[in-house]
Amino acid sequence: ADEIVIGGSIPLTGVFAFAGVGVEAGMQDYIKIVNEAGGIAGRKLRLAYEDTGYKVDASVAAFNKLTSQETINLYYGDSTGFAKTINPEIDRMGSILMAGASFATELNDPKAFPHQFMAGPDYSEMTGILLEYIAKEKPGAKIVLVNSDTEFGRDPIAATKARAKELGLEVVEEIITPPTAVDVSTEVLKLRRARPDYTIFHGYVLAPLPEFMTQAKQLGLETKFMGTFWSMDSSIWDKVGEVADGFMGVMPYRYYYDEAEDAPMLKRIREMRPTYQSTPYMQGFLTAMLFAEAAKRTLEAGKDLTGANLKAALNSIQDFDTGGLIGMPISIPGNSIPVGRIYQYNAAAKKMEPASDWISVQE
Amino acid sequence: MAADTILDINNIEVVYNKTIQVLRGLSLSVERGRIVTLLGSNGAGKSTTLKAVSSLLTLENGAVTSGSIRFDGEDIARATPHGLVRRGLFHVMEGRRIFEDLTVEENLTAATFALSGRGLKPTAFDLVYQYFPRLYERRQGRAGYLSGGEQQMLAIGRALIAQPSLILLDEPSLGLSPILVEEIFSIIASINRDTGVSMLLVEQNAAVAFAVAHYGYIMESGKIVLDGPTERLVRDEDVREFYLGMSGGEHAKSYRDIKHYKRRKRWLS
């Protein structure tokens, strides 16, 4: 029987290579699982992808190349820029359902992006989850937002401030760092002057967080540092060492080493890959799972694999069990899955440990 | 080769950019302590000859493809340009080539590198200033702003600092006022006399070149066509007509009396 091809513009190199490498592995593994179980309606899944180096034009070129070579109904994209750039083309083609590495708030709009979704909360929902946690831990807390001066970094600022106000939290300072900043001394001085209870970073993977934290420690600052999904991988923090201890953040998936009872899928992953797999791996894995589910539901309903049908099938997902990747059953009424949990890094154990229960910000 | 020959160029060919042949079997030699002049029309290859000797050809994508050049009895095929300078061969290049961004004094300092590894006592800059007082006045100024003549003085001044045994001089009179030409050539002659340094002198101003040189070569299109002691050359009819502008009489003919040649035919008619 013919295959169902998942296309992918994946950043295997470049600034976000760490994400792309994990995503690719995760998707491949889930595809293997499906194929070993006989595929979807007898059709095997296959990932056809190209490296993009996290450059939009390379992503678009890869998309055009892959889609003109074979029939592709599912596509993984590598960035917000790409998701937005390719959107008109996807709408025009009408044959593709797309997800990707971007959790941009803007994409979480089924009207503007009818054929896309994201396998987790959007960036505003992520900070929303953090704020909810903060409000519970320390009502009226003072918060500083640190964002990189990029589209990625600035994405949730407005929403975060609005949500903080609703929750009675005070945003005492906003720090924007140039995308390439290495020396953050002046920013740390600003931080010290603001004396926040919590500092929320967004728009970074790692640098300059460790330097922030080192200097803050030297200065004896008592603030809790928090991050969002892309800076939550534990292997990255392992390399930072002692200073990383206590770093917190929001995470939509469980970690590789989570041995929770209700997570058979993680066990399966550990069987397939004996060493630690990154958070992007989980994201890729879950995205592939949702792709497969949408395709399965479409085919079972006897419909063609069109963008609209796939999206409708995806939106029909209710209280779906992800095999424990996410610690609660999920539904996808729109373009995102707004659930997550707060984890905290334990430097001694080299592990991210849960600091809260699963939080859903679904209305 | 005679023992007292400091420079001996033997049948060399030079090609630029692997394509343009400029010298075709040129030979000449300079006896120690002598001033030898090399004359020829524009583009004959005089400067090329000097550059071949000082090894500066490679910088312009030129190469000696056959023949040999011996300086002080040694073949220089493998020598580096700066190595030659440090062995006592100094090339005062065409167009002065002073360091525009450096001051006059720094230009002279730069020339002291020619003494590296020769165990010579450095010449005081005073000697240069003595020959060229005008340079003294402008010693702290940037050399790029010197007038043409001042730059030529500086270029020769650098050669003095370098204490060479052979100086290659490429058109030292270019752009100099008559009195300075006289002065510079007197200085050239006295440097030669005082220090015994040998010189190979390329000139357009044949009259002054003959005044200082002991021996002369005349080249056309990459070859020597005539040579001899200056006394003999100045009596040669062709030399008198084409290089000294004298036809028959003792005095040069006037530029006003030059015939208008018949115009060539138009390209498109």
Binding site: V60, S68, Q69, G81, P88, R92, E151, D155 | -
Partner: protein
Amino acid sequence: MLIGTAKHSYRADEALLTTRPQRIWMGVLAVGLALAPLVLDNYWLYLACFVAINVASATGLNILTGFTGLVSLGQAAFMAVGAYTVAVLEIRIGTPFLLNLVAAGAVAALIGVVVGLPSLRVKGLYLAIATIAASFILHFVFVNWQTVTNGNSGLSVPPATFLGTPLTDYVQLYYVFVPITALMVLGAANLFRTRIGRAFIAIRDRDISAEVLGISLLRYKLMSFAVSSFYAGLAGGMWAYFFRVVTPESFPFVYSIFFLAAIIVGGMGTILGGILGAVFMTLVPELLRFVVDILSPVLPNAGTLLSPVRTIVFGALIIGFLVFEPKGLAEIVQRLRRFFHLWPFKK
């Protein structure tokens, strides 16, 4: 100059294509370009469109840098100006797309003149750095002029419409972009048959003597900036209709370097060079993609090597051309032409 072609008038001698073989080849090329979409798949059409855009912009940069000697590392920023202009006009006013493109060029030209102002005092590489500065400042404007540019998230561009049809697929865009680019290239070639082009070259070769010979540096340096940015702006406009999203990150600084690299690899100061360079530099990364495809069965993680290898090849091409073929691809083509002489149209 080809040998064996008697010229019968000054006009014939000054024509762009002076020999019969040249004219025949040009005809073949034109027909080929016109028919290409019949055989190309979507991917190649995409590339063709992208090449057209890059050729237009590279030709512009070549006018400024290759012919006038003013090094600019701001070409991508000028393209961004054009792209934003198109986006804003499409979204707010909905003027016809050809008009928008011209406006894109015009606005970019205006900005180009402003950026060019330092060129009157600032020279050589100092100027290159000033253009870098200008492009970062423009980037800042794109990010922060929220009301017009919509900040970091940028603008989505409605498709160009022509006679009521939205131009959404690559075939349609191809037939719009390629002729526009061809016209722009022709314009550039014409420019250098006239006094204006000569003035540009004179400024490149010796600006102060040019002034004494009656060429106003103020006027012509700024004019060169204007023309070059006009080309960039128009190319940026096409870019906007092509990718349909314009964000501040759409035109990164490396894109400016890309154009400089393109004209170097192609050959600075020749029209052909700008074209060849842009084509070559756009296609090489894609060719590497195919190389990787071929290698991947043999080399398991060839895929992950692609991007660093591309980066290396990009750099190595620049270095290689400059060191071994400083006159670029255009020179190689000339040599081939000389080699084949009048082949295959022997008289």
